[in-house]
């Protein structure tokens, strides 16, 4: 399909113009995916929350409430953009873009199927970690420039939390890189044709997966690690002063980040678009279905965390990271290195 579009564009445009148009088209497609995924993850969160709390949840607008988030988005777009009087306007307006652009850039490297991957960079995983470290700047800026005490406290907490847990995310992914021997996402998928990495690496892989999910939940600032916007103490944390579309940017980015964390886990631990036991190997386009299915299962797991565990205190949060997760992670890397060295991996 991409080839025919390419030919069609080439028929009436020059080489450079074609490549620029193609880039714009790809960007638009990803923007559309971004918006739709964000909106429906919000709906999913609300329905899942209702389900866990034995409520019904939004089910009035459209079939089973499918249009509810559309209505919410329309409301947010039409809302007035308020702000504090003595905020630093330039930084205040800039902050949401940091968060949303870093989320969008991260989305571009995932292999949805064998063909559907916008940007197969040779340092895939590392690029994702680099991008996610930029996103936190948006939160810090938003909190500082609103000129509000609650926002500032929220931003400080967010900074401490994200910087600490980035370490665990990186190290647990590094554990899996020992198995694949490559950072490129398409090659990581290729390796998993002999069994998903969580099977290949058995015990250390499962430990790495657990650490990754805990640290990933903390990275996205979700409950039980949501001290950044702890409703009962800080109002809404770093985005207290934001309204309308700017608030929606933070909100969307949070959900997209949840999707990204799950998508990384899917790619690294559960074989991305590969079907279990190769049952649909002859139909390549079903890869999208498998990829999204696995990712949504992991998203569901993160939502499940949210409604199961009470919120941690700041000191508990830091103790968990620096005294438990980090040492376990380091031992785990050595264990994985031993297993790879002694050829104890399980190859199907």
């Amino acid at each position: 399909m991409t080839k025919s579009i390419h030919q069609w564009l080439l028929s009436f445009m020059s080489e450079t113009a074609t490549s620029i148009t193609e880039m714009v088209l790809i960007a638009l497609v990803y923007l559309a995916i971004f918006a739709v995924a964000g909106l429906y993850l919000v709906l999913l969160e609300r329905r899942v929350a209702a389900w866990f709390q034995l409520r019904i949840g939004p089910n009035r607008v459209g079939f089973q409430g499918l249009l509810q988030t559309m209505a919410d988005a329309l409301k947010l777009v039409s809302k007035e953009l308020t702000g504090t009087d003595r905020a630093d306007k330039f930084l205040y307006n800039l902050a949401p873009y940091f968060v949303i652009i870093s989320a969008l850039m991260a989305l571009s490297v995932f292999p949805f199927t064998q063909e559907l991957q916008a940007f197969d960079i040779n340092i895939g995983i590392f690029f994702l970690i680099a991008i996610s470290s930029i996103g936190v700047i948006g939160i810090l800026l938003g909190g500082w420039s609103s000129n509000n005490k609650f926002s500032l406290i929220g931003a400080m907490r967010s900074g401490v939390q994200t910087i600490s847990y980035e370490l665990s995310v990186g190290l647990s992914l590094l554990t899996m890189i020992l198995l694949t021997g490559s950072l490129q996402l398409s090659e990581i998928v290729e390796v998993q044709k002999n069994g998903w990495l969580i099977v290949q690496g058995h015990i250390p892989a499962i430990i790495a997966f657990m650490i990754y999910m805990i640290a990933g939940t903390a990275e996205t600032n979700r409950a039980p690690f949501d001290m950044v916007e702890a409703e009962s103490e800080l109002g809404a944390g770093f985005h207290t002063e934001y309204s309308g579309m700017k608030f929606a940017y933070f909100f969307l980015a949070e959900f997209i980040n949840m999707f990204i964390i799950s998508a990384i886990a899917t790619t690294v631990f559960f074989g991305a678009w590969l079907s279990p036991f190769g049952i649909t190997e002859s139909i390549p386009w079903l890869g999208v279905f498998w990829f999204l299915g696995k990712t949504l299962l992991l998203v569901l797991l993160m939502m499940w965390f949210r409604w199961t565990f009470p919120r941690l205190r700041v000191d508990q949060l830091l103790t968990l990271e620096w005294k438990y997760l980090l040492p376990i992670n380091l031992v785990n890397i050595v264990l994985m290195a031993l297993i790879v060295w002694l050829n104890l991996t399980i190859q199907l």
């Binding site: 003595r86 040779n122 590392f126 690029f127 930029i134 700047i137 810090l140 500082w144 900074g159």
Partner: protein, 166 residues
């Protein structure tokens, strides 16, 4: 097209660098500096040196800048503006920077840059092997020295943070 992207990046970097030193609000300077560093990462991406670009983003964008923002967060109030330096100091600074630029330009224009014909991007495996090789052109000695230095810095930070009750 690469030429245009390069010029866009280069000019925006220069503009943001000037803005970073001229701004009288500390946080804005930090953000302009971030844009300069991201621009450098963009140039690394442009020459297909992805690994260094990602390093640039993590170390400078995610590390140094976040640390700077933290320190600004702790010491700086939102309405404070930096005071302008004395004229004599500004003149001295201008002379020193002019000398610095002169030295840089001298070195860049006298060095004969060889044009490399291959378009292969450097893989992380190559970098890792070079970093740990102890043969000719290996970097194992500087690598180890830096790791010892980092360890010393970490221990020093812990000692300072702990205070008297060690």
């Amino acid at each position: 097209m690469e030429k245009y992207i390069f010029y866009i990046l280069a000019f925006s970097m220069i503009a943001f660098a000037i803005a970073a030193v001229n701004s009288r609000k500390m946080m804005r300077s930090v953000i302009y500096l971030l844009f300069v560093l991201v621009g450098i990462a963009g140039i690394f991406f442009l020459i297909d040196y992805n690994f260094l670009a990602a390093i640039q983003l993590t170390v400078y964008g995610g590390g140094v800048i976040v640390l700077m923002i933290f320190s600004v967060l702790l010491v700086h109030h939102i309405e404070l503006e930096l005071t302008l330096a004395k004229t004599s100091k500004r003149i001295i600074a201008a002379i020193v920077s002019a000398i610095g630029i002169g030295v840089f330009l001298q070195i860049i224009y006298t060095y004969d840059f060889p044009v490399v014909e291959n378009y292969k991007t450097t893989s992380t495996a190559d970098i890792g092997e070079k970093l740990l090789s102890y043969g000719d052109g290996g970097f194992v000695l500087p690598f180890e020295v830096i790791s010892v230095l980092l360890l010393a810095a970490m221990i020093g930070a812990i000692v300072i943070a702990k205070g008297k009750k060690i």
